[in-house]
């Protein structure tokens, strides 16, 4: 069985502290933005979530490639964990973005390339999870999931590029306030701290999720000959026969 990992425990505590620290920085240290005021403070966690939404896609694709090349289950677990966290963070990124957009752009949604790409990315993650759910055999789920993670990762930059190209030809009505925002150094520091804290959180969650997945598979797999678990299984089988 998987034993407790000391490093992971330490890292988990650190990640929680880091996120709390980043939150404190956002609330107390980062200055109020001149035109947008308080709602702008969501920016720090928004950017961090969006960043991790993209990182997860990379993790999922790398996991997929390694699984196809080496066939080890741990790579498949990595890919799956990447997708699940990717869905979480891209939803977080989209929702925080919408909450920020409402007071600042006066609308929850614009067809901005970043918003569109982030949402499409979320749908791709969702497709991956639906694909796996619809397959009974675990090895087949791993194989087909890996392929989908790879093509999904390739298509996302193209989606962003085409959505962006669309905008350069058709100017949008709502200005890109976010990009023109002038940032002072406390704001940069807070942003850097949030990104580091969220990335740490991401690594910890990813690690936990991979371990959980591996533990679950070990429980579900056929017990090996001679182990205590195997003997229990044999005993149970005999009980059922009688």
């Amino acid at each position: 069985m998987l034993s407790k990992n000391k490093w992971l425990s330490v890292l988990s505590v650190l990640a929680v502290l880091a996120v709390l620290g980043a939150l404190a920085l956002v609330i107390f240290y980062a200055p109020l933005e001149l035109t947008m005021g308080l709602p702008q403070k969501i920016f720090y966690f928004h950017v961090s979530s969006a960043w991790l939404g993209m990182v997860s896609f990379f993790v999922a694709a790398i996991g997929g490639i390694l699984y196809l090349a080496r066939g080890k289950e741990v790579y498949d677990s990595l890919s799956l964990a990447g997708v699940e966290l990717g869905l979480l963070f891209s939803v977080l990124g989209t929702v925080t973005g919408m909450l920020w957009a409402r007071p600042v752009w006066n609308t929850y949604w614009t067809w901005d390339p970043r918003l569109t790409t982030m949402t499409i990315m979320g749908f791709t993650y969702l497709g991956y999870l639906l694909l796996r759910r619809a397959i009974d055999s675990p090895t087949r789920a791993a194989r087909l999931g890996a392929i989908y993670a790879i093509v999904g990762f390739v298509s996302v930059p193209l989606t962003f590029f085409s959505a962006r190209l669309l905008r350069t030809i058709h100017p949008t009505i709502f200005g890109n306030t976010g990009e023109k925002m002038v940032m002072t150094s406390p704001m940069y520091q807070t942003m850097a701290a949030s990104i580091v804290a969220f990335t740490l959180l991401f690594v910890v969650l990813l690690w936990h999720r991979v371990r959980l997945e591996m533990a679950q598979r070990m429980l579900e797999s056929e017990p090996e000959e001679g182990t205590a678990k195997h003997q229990v299984a044999k005993f149970d089988a005999r009980g059922e026969e009688q």
Binding site: L144, I150, V151, A163
Partner: protein, 224 residues
Amino acid sequence: MRQYMASLWALIKKDLIQEWRSKDIISAMLAFAVLTLFIFNYALSLSPQAQASIATGIVWVLVVFAGTLGINRSFSAEQDQGCFDALLLGSPDLSLVYLAKMLSNFLIMALLALFLLPVYSLLYNYSLFNGLFVGLILLGAWAYSAMATLLAGLSVQTRMRDMLLPVLLFPLLIPVNIAVVKAGAGILEGLPFADISIWFTLLAAYAVIITTISSMVFEYVIKE
């Protein structure tokens, strides 16, 4: 190389003969496309004035929806009758199986598109017959079949089958949709080619990248 092309052609011919004998897929696709056009006509109150801006959009949506209907079935014979095993035994290179299926899907899509263009032009008295426009639709159909064929190979092996393909396919198809619709509108509005060439480049890049990756990973789609 000659051997490769010969095997490729044999596999394509198999698909086309199979389709030619039953005509199941193509007839369902054509009927579906025309009926969807009728739905659009009433849902969007299409008028001759609005044509230039939305004609490409309508035609492309018909191609995508009807295409999904057809491509969904493209691996069902292999799956249901155990032909995957035969292909595994008989093919020297598994990328062939993908390329052949992709090309036969492309041919069916092209047929569908070449049927839809005159129908649309006839119904709306608005000519879509423009060499560049036809070329665009064909390039789009290639990009589309490259992605859809791979994903049909995935979805056919699941419990949900037909239901899953659109969910997997549509998010990854966004670049193709944007490029075809934008370039098509540009062509119909008579913009110079220099203004829209970027969309052609994007489509070609998408098609080449996806075709390459799919032929590389396809052996993992069918090899247990």
